[in-house]
């Protein structure tokens, strides 16, 4: 029974995918969207069932569907593992997924390929569920690559624009770089432990550590982390995420904010027993997370594309989560993943609503004053912005505060940097809000006349998410730490409760003050001084460097893409013909020899006779001497 339900949970979105692929064109747009949404809702409801059951008996549920690959000394089966962690992820993946599907019915209604959009979305949810419920690393890897594929398909959804296709391709390839790391990490674990089942890995890792295999574990952990940097957009593999905003906005909300990008955090949390044994790698994770948070926040400060701001904000928040992971506070990271999913999805959907209202305009310089025309969008986004900025009592305040607190206890430098990043967050988020919703409209007259609030299918998800962003912090308030207890079986007593002492209150205060400083700065610049960002070519100096994202893309192009392409050209135009020539040279030598030999055959009978006579002489002499 449970097994069948679990399979249904897994396959329901896949059925939606199949339906939309094969019949989506024949049925009406609304119907295909509804089917797409319903299949995800089914998964969500089942997840809730499993969640309820788990809360009752607290037992993880694992079973194997069939044997899959057999390598080395172990068989890999296609297994499903439903424990606290995966069910938690399932809940918000399918929950937010359902909302975003609902949102998309309206948002994508004008697109001729709407059924495909829902097909891809459903496929994404299917792969995401696979990723989450897989009972071993390789099944997780199916989902891992699968969501990458869906991300590729959805970023390039408007395939007629080659720039979008480039962005999609870039996302896929950068993810693959990470995937290679993940794969190598899997190999190291598999070779040393002969298993990659999550349930067996824990004991295996511990045993290996005792028998002096720490070196291998470190490499494995590092490789797995490289995989995570690809999927979760961390330095050095983060540049695909801002470009991924080429996709339709619901995609950005679902894949590139709430769910897929958290896969890296999911994986690291899953493998927490491994990372706990490799402190060096944990340091690396913490440092990279922090730097990412800072760099991305800095870039976010000056972006003018509304979705780009949100994208860098996502990267920055993910960096904070990795900071928490690196400090061993997995539950804190998970907490922030959940609250972030709520408010970031809400922000993206809100920005989608704005873009929808402006018929595709994404440049904040051409927005403004939308507060009155789109009140629901405004208020929901405002709540989420307060949440992300870390204002009491919204969800983001609690989760971010936990991270900063952990950082403070572990490493002051990281704490300072992370705090700066969150001040920046408050600044650029309010900059976004002020530019978009306050003061007067800066777009064209025609747009102004068509300004309207989005339909209810769009606003309902917004409201739900805004509510969640408000109260989401309740799951792990520093007094009633439900989440910590819930995750205890996974994280086996590793979390430390932060006792609310004076230090903690002080830290909360500092964080709050920092956020308010950020907001005030944004207010003074964009409301008081009524500053509107300059056009692209007026930006100079350091701002230009930031505006151009520290030229990281250009750096990658110059150091990796161009050399490889140059090498390819060199191989193609120089080396290949040269190799070919080497082979041909055997032929040429034979040809040359024969054409030399041909000259002897010149038809001159006199010469023939000469040679003939000399030959006879030689033969006779030889025979005589040989005698």
């Amino acid at each position: 029974m449970e097994m069948n339900l679990a399979i249904l949970l897994l396959l329901s979105p896949f059925v939606g995918f199949l339906f939309n692929v094969f019949f989506g064109k024949k049925v009406s747009k609304g119907f295909s969207g509804t089917i797409g949404t319903l299949t995800v809702v089914v998964s969500f409801l089942l997840s809730v069932c499993f969640f309820a059951q788990l809360n009752q008996n607290g037992k993880a549920f694992e079973f194997s569907l069939f044997d899959w690959i057999q390598v080395g000394n172990f068989k890999l089966n296609f297994g499903i593992l439903l424990d606290q962690l995966s069910i938690l992820w399932l809940l918000f993946v399918t929950g937010i997924g359902s909302l975003i599907h609902l949102y998309s019915i309206s948002y994508m209604h004008d697109d001729e390929n709407m059924h495909k959009f829902f097909a891809y979305l459903n496929l994404f949810v299917f792969f995401m569920i696979t990723l989450v419920v897989g009972s071993n690393l390789l099944v997780m890897f199916i989902g891992w690559e699968g969501v990458g594929l869906c991300s590729y398909l959805l970023i390039g959804f408007w395939y007629k624009n080659q720039d979008y296709n480039d962005a999609a391709k870039k996302a896929f390839i950068m993810n693959r770089v990470g995937d290679l790391g993940l794969l190598i990490g899997i190999f190291i674990l598999a070779i040393n432990l002969d298993t990659i089942n999550f349930t067996d890995l824990n004991a295996g890792v511990v045993a290996l550590n005792k028998t002096g295999g720490n070196q291998a574990l470190q490499w494995a952990a590092l490789c797995l982390f490289i995989g995570a940097t690809g999927k979760s957009a961390q330095i050095p593999l983060y540049t695909w995420l801002p470009d991924a905003m080429a996709g339709p906005t619901p995609v950005s909300a679902l894949i590139h904010a709430a769910t897929m990008v958290t896969a890296g955090i999911f994986m690291v949390t899953r493998m927490n027993f491994l990372f706990d044994l490799t402190p060096n790698v944990q340091h690396v994770i913490a440092i990279i997370g922090t730097i990412t948070a800072l760099v991305a926040a800095a870039i976010g400060l000056l972006q003018n594309d509304i979705k780009k701001v949100l994208a860098y904000s996502t990267v920055s928040q993910l960096g904070l989560m990795f900071l928490a992971l690196g400090l061993g506070a997995y539950n804190v990271a998970v907490f922030h993943v959940i609250t972030h999913a709520f408010f970031k999805a809400c922000l993206f959907l809100g920005s989608g609503s704005v873009i929808h209202g402006l018929h595709g305009e994404q440049d904040m310089r051409k927005m403004g004053g939308l507060r009155k025309a789109m009140p629901i969008t405004f208020w929901t986004m405002m709540i989420s912005t307060l949440a992300i900025a870390g204002i009491f009592p919204f969800a983001g305040f609690w989760s971010k505060d936990e991270i900063l607190m952990t950082a403070f206890h572990e490493n002051k430098t990281l704490w300072i940097v992370a705090s700066i990043a969150s001040i920046m967050t408050a600044f650029y988020m309010f900059r976004l809000m002020y530019l978009t919703f306050f003061r007067e409209f800066r777009g064209t007259e025609e747009q102004k006349n068509h300004l309207h609030e989005s339909p209810s299918l769009i606003t309902i998800p917004l409201v739900i998410l805004a509510v969640l962003a408000t109260i989401g912090g309740a799951i792990n308030l520093p007094g009633s730490t439900w989440l910590n207890h819930y995750l205890e079986p996974i994280l086996a007593g590793k979390h430390e409760e932060h006792h609310l002492g004076s230090t903690e209150y002080m830290l909360m205060g500092i964080a709050l003050v920092g956020a308010i400083i950020g907001i005030v700065l944004a207010y003074s610049k964009y409301i008081k001084q009524a500053f509107v960002p300059k056009t692209d070519n007026e930006i100079v100096g350091f701002s230009k460097t930031i505006y151009n994202k520290f030229y990281v893309d250009e750096l990658y192009t110059a150091t990796i893409v161009k050399p490889i392409n140059a090498l390819s050209n060199f191989f193609r135009t120089t080396l290949e013909p040269a190799l070919s020539k080497v082979v041909f040279s055997f032929g040429s030598v034979a040809y040359g020899l024969s054409s030399q030999g041909r000259k002897l055959q010149n038809g001159n009978i006199g010469l023939y006779l000469f040679v003939f006579v000399i030959g006879i002489c030689a033969i006779i002499t030889y025979l005589f001497i040989a005698q």
Partner: protein, 106 residues
């Protein structure tokens, strides 16, 4: 009648044949006129015939002479055909200079 070789010696005949043969070879290589080349070939044939006869006497056996007889037949046939070919070559090219006959060129 005593053996003639007792007085002359087979070696002398050998040297004579060799020299005659070499003169023939020399002629073949030296001259361009196809007819002279033919003559040189006849000289070579005769050098060999001479040796045959010498050894026939040496072994007191008729077979050597029989062989010479056949060789003469072949020489006759060869000259007949060869000259015919030369005539037709001459008709076609207007010359029997062997340096001009280069159709064998590969």
């Amino acid at each position: 009648m005593g053996n003639i070789l007792n007085e002359i010696g087979i070696e002398n005949y050998i040297f004579l044949s060799v020299l005659l043969f070499c003169i023939g070879v020399f002629g073949v290589l030296y001259r361009r006129n196809a007819i002279i080349v033919f003559m040189s070939i006849e000289i070579m044939l005769n050098a060999v015939n001479l040796l045959f006869v010498a050894f026939s006497t040496y072994h007191q056996d008729a077979e050597g002479q029989v062989f010479v007889f056949f060789s003469m037949a072949v020489a006759a046939a060869e000259v007949a055909v060869g000259l015919a070919i030369l005539v037709s070559v001459f008709r076609n090219l207007g010359s029997i200079d062997i340096d001009n006959l280069k159709n064998l060129k590969g």
